[in-house]
């Protein structure tokens, strides 16, 4: 067990959380606490904090340990997941985020309810809440892997410890605290990754040149050293990742939550200069580090997920390993925090108000906190039962595709609750048949990603049902004329 690293990282997390919470509480006592400040940071964040929060909210297990894991089968092409997320940032900050803010909606469910009415809105809220809770479990898996690497403790104990820290992370103050903690974690994580990369120049047997030579020595692995080395993976992985991430988060609570905290739409649009590069450039370093681990035969036997942690534990100086793990842990914690906050906010703001329409902000905040604790417990219980991280994330994205397509139709063409419900349900069934129940494997069409299926079904069924079913003009249509 790396006791020094463990103590250092735990102290770092506790001190950073406590310090930021204390500073915010102190500031709020002086300024007076604004209504809704727990989940929405009082709605006054500048572009820098909005961009960094957005970048780190949507930068978690799939970017760090997930990309290392992917590098074992696709080499540096795994970095395309980050590039895909830069496209997603453009969609959120330049297109859908400002649209959603202009409707006055505080959650994606409220926004979609304004387009399609309460039935479709609640259907999407329920789907989003379930999928995002699933993603919380992925984040918990990454947190547990990090703690396992730090301590050598069993995966279960690591997950329980990680769950407690993760829940504390979000419970103490809410969105505003996470925004500031993200800023600190971003700096630590990038510093850690750069130091790991530099350390590996000296610590890898033969340095990075030996990694490249080993990979290039076989035609089976030579393509893994080139970002454009396998066109089939660009079609089967990079493009669907960009499409799925953009269409899922473009109108989901995870993408909208940080946007809702911005001071105004100008700040939202400027935030792309932080969100795009921070999120988009991240994956290349884990991808290269994953390739390094793959190039050393001794670590391959540890399996795709654990070969990179095993190499790091062996080769890296302890301070560098500690800094990296603190950064990774911080990122996964902040992603867990906002992801758990998103379904909790959906339930407290969209669903609880059905039963109690006169619920006060204090009651909603209390319910949000209780739900976050429940999500933490559920995540701990099932985080060990997850498939390959990036595959799971991309599968989840496919469920958001019809919501985005029908959302755009509903804003700019026609709103029909019936058309939207039919499109959602048919597309979700198609996604399940193609991916979950294995039609894709049966037909041996590995590169025909489930996101393509979801997009084709959404557009075709959406156009037909919207044209045929009765409905009101698009939400933004009338005044445009």
């Amino acid at each position: 067990m790396h006791l020094g690293i463990l103590i250092g990282i735990v102290l770092y997390e506790i001190i950073s959380i406590a310090l930021v919470s204390w500073l915010i509480t102190r500031k709020q006592k002086h300024a007076g606490k604004e209504a809704g400040s727990f989940a929405f940071a009082g709605g006054g964040l500048p572009a820098s904090l909005v961009g960094i929060t957005l970048a780190l909210t949507l930068l978690g297990s799939a970017h760090n340990w997930g990309t290392c894991q992917n590098a074992a089968s696709m080499g540096v092409i795994a970095a395309w997941f980050g590039i895909a997320c830069a496209v997603m940032m453009v969609v959120i900050t330049q297109i859908t985020g400002p649209w959603m803010r202009r409707t006055g909606a505080k959650t994606s469910g409220e926004f979609l309810g304004k387009i399609f009415g309460p039935t479709s809105g609640r259907l999407i809220s329920a789907m989003n809440a379930a999928l995002i809770i699933g993603m919380c479990c992925l984040e918990m898996e990454a947190i547990a892997v990090t703690i396992n690497l730090m301590t050598g403790w069993s995966y279960t104990v690591s997950a329980i410890l990680g769950g407690i820290v993760a829940v504390l992370y979000v419970l103490l103050a809410g969105m505003k605290e996470i925004a500031w903690l993200n800023l600190i974690n971003a700096i630590v994580m990038y510093l850690g990754l750069i130091l790991v990369f530099i350390s590996l120049i000296f610590k890898l047997p033969g340095g990075w040149d030996a990694v490249e030579t080993t990979m290039l020595s076989s035609p089976d692995t030579a393509w893994m050293t080139n970002l454009f080395g396998n066109p089939a993976l660009i079609v089967g992985f990079a493009i669907p990742s960009a499409l799925g991430a953009s269409l899922f988060h473009g109108m989901a609570q995870t993408g909208y939550q940080p946007i809702a905290t911005a001071k105004n739409n100008k700040e939202v649009k400027k935030s792309i200069w932080f969100a795009g590069p921070i999120n988009g450039c991240f994956c290349i370093l884990p991808a290269l580090i994953g390739v390094a681990a793959f190039s050393i035969i001794a670590y391959r036997s540890a399996g795709d997920m654990m070969m990179t942690p095993a190499m790091m534990a062996d080769l890296l100086p302890k301070p560098v390993l500690g800094l990296l793990l603190a950064g990774f842990l911080g990122v996964d914690l902040s992603s867990f925090a906002v992801m758990s906050l998103a379904p909790a906010t959906i339930i407290s703001h969209d669903m609880y108000t059905l039963k109690n329409p006169k619920a006060t902000e204090e009651q909603k905040t209390r319910l949000t906190r209780i739900i976050i604790v429940i999500i933490g417990i559920v995540s701990i219980l099932i985080c060990n039962l997850q498939p390959i991280v990036v595959n799971m994330v991309n599968w989840s994205f496919a469920f958001g595709v019809p919501v985005f397509v029908m959302g755009v139709f509903g804003l700019w063409w026609k709103r029909s609750a019936k058309a939207s419900v039919i499109t959602f349900i048919i597309t979700w069934i198609a996604v399940c048949i193609w991916s979950t129940f294995g039609l894709q494997d049966y037909l041996q069409m590995a590169n025909f990603h489930v996101t393509y299926i979801a997009t084709i079904f959404s557009v075709v069924i959406g156009v037909i049902t919207t044209a045929v079913c009765e409905g009101k003009p698009g939400l933004f249509v009338k005044k445009r004329k």
């Binding site: 940032m89 453009v90 202009r102 990075w208 040149d209 988009g280």
Partner: protein, 42 residues
């Protein structure tokens, strides 16, 4: 090391190109420029 440098430069160039193009798209999205809450015509 050649692999690392080339890959990092490629990723940075692609990401900043996407960001720049995205920002230009945002400039064209005039509807999302203001903060006025949209009132639906009844």
């Amino acid at each position: 090391m050649h692999m690392c440098i080339v890959s990092i430069i490629q990723v940075v160039v692609i990401v900043f190109a996407i960001t720049g193009i995205g920002f230009a798209i945002g400039k064209a999205n005039k509807f999302g420029e203001t903060d006025d809450i949209w009132k639906e015509d009844k």
